[in-house]
């Protein structure tokens, strides 16, 4: 275990895994057929650029393929896993901002303060920003960081969810979905959420809650499309969905 950990800290190991992961995701993208809801979400963005894209942790791996020429930066943590994610994102042409929020008091090591300023600068320079709305280790609970970013910069948040019919659900804190090749894929984009510059704590909380609900609804809808649920049958609610995924993951792969 110690050896593996030491090995993972080697730059060449991280780079090899990161590049392999990126090329694997490219394979998934090239062998899968994605549908979008709404049919052309880029029309929504175009009027609002630059925008903030919000996703849930563990549901975002295919995002680099959805940017369709728009300049994007993605926020990625400084953790070793994040390092590999960053290498993969950069290999696929997505720029990165490094850092993450924290529920505790470790702001000085997580890089969240510098990352927040970098994201403000990026949006001011015309980059779109993609980031996960939930703060590490507490899955699918939107944090206030993304809301404050929207409030400070005046940019709208678009909730985005991606799902594939064939996937492996990992038994980790964020229930990461490893997308598999030859899938039916779905991308769902929710309505924009705007946060006024003078938002008081109550308004910030309302926006946070609205984002959480919208992301859950988009995630539920993306899985319903990908899993081709019969008309009239609602996808399980996100929390139930997590439970289902947890049960299914015991068997490994969810087949088409």
């Amino acid at each position: 275990m110690k050896f593996t950990r030491r090995l993972m800290q080697k730059r060449w190991v991280q780079k090899t895994i990161g590049v392999a992961a990126a090329e694997y995701l490219r394979l998934v993208w090239m062998t899968s057929r994605f549908t979008m809801e709404p049919a052309d979400p880029y029309r929504l963005y175009e009027r609002e650029l630059p925008v903030i894209l919000a996703m849930w942790h563990g549901q975002h791996f295919m995002l680099p393929f959805m940017r369709r020429g728009f300049p994007f930066k993605v926020l990625i943590s400084r953790h070793i896993d994040g390092e590999i994610n960053a290498i993969a994102a950069e290999w696929l042409g997505v720029a990165t901002v490094r850092g993450s929020g924290d529920h505790g008091r470790r702001y000085h090591v997580k890089g969240g303060v510098g990352a927040f300023k970098s994201m403000m600068d990026a949006l001011a320079e015309g980059w779109n920003m993609a980031l996960t709305a939930d703060v590490p280790k507490v899955s699918r609970v939107a944090g206030l960081g993304i809301i404050k970013l929207a409030s400070t910069t005046g940019r709208p948040i678009f909730p985005v969810a991606l799902a594939t019919s064939r996937r492996i659900m990992l038994d980790n804190w964020d229930r990461s979905a490893i997308n598999l090749p030859f899938s039916r894929g779905a991308t769902v984009v929710g309505d924009p959420i705007r946060v006024p510059a003078d938002a008081d704590p109550e308004v910030l909380e309302q926006a946070r809650s609205a984002l959480e609900q919208s992301l859950n609804a988009a995630t539920e809808r993306a899985y319903a499309i990908a899993d081709r649920l019969p008309k009239g049958v609602r996808s399980a609610a996100p929390q139930e969905r997590l439970e289902i995924d947890r049960r299914v993951s015991n068997n490994g792969i969810i087949a088409d």
Binding site: A86, W91, V97, H103, G104, H108, G111, F116, L144, K148
Partner: protein
């Protein structure tokens, strides 16, 4: 209220301002804010620190330097410039924080230096 003029930026005034801004952000009595108090010990989280940094920047019209760690340029081939350094969680290899301050005193000292640097330009 606009940025405070440099002439007013005496050490004492800066310390008082810094303490009052931190006290307001963290919602704690200003008396608790002795120079040696660490912000994390006072309960500050990243969003609190961002609020404090913004308030100080606005008040003194300064830019507080924060260590960024970004890869920002995308080359013609679609690859980014790979500026990201070999960092793991816990700051850089020397264990340094991204922030140039840890305690209330550090914040006041940093603001004073930035205000003086601005005045000497």
């Amino acid at each position: 209220m606009g940025p405070v003029s440099v002439a007013r930026g005496s050490t004492l005034a800066i310390i008082d301002d810094v303490r009052s801004i931190i006290a307001k952000s963290l919602n704690i009595p200003v008396e608790q804010l002795t120079p040696d108090k660490r912000l994390d010990e006072l309960g500050a989280e990243s969003l609190d620190v961002i609020e404090i940094v913004f308030a100080l920047e606005e008040k003194y019209d300064i830019a507080i330097p924060l260590q960024a760690n970004d890869a920002t340029r995308v080359s013609a081939s679609g690859k980014t410039d790979g500026k990201t350094e070999d960092k793991s969680e816990g700051g850089d290899k020397s264990g340094n924080s991204e922030l140039p301050f840890t305690t209330v005193g550090d914040v006041a000292e940093m603001v004073e230096k930035l205000v003086l640097a601005k005045a000497s330009k």
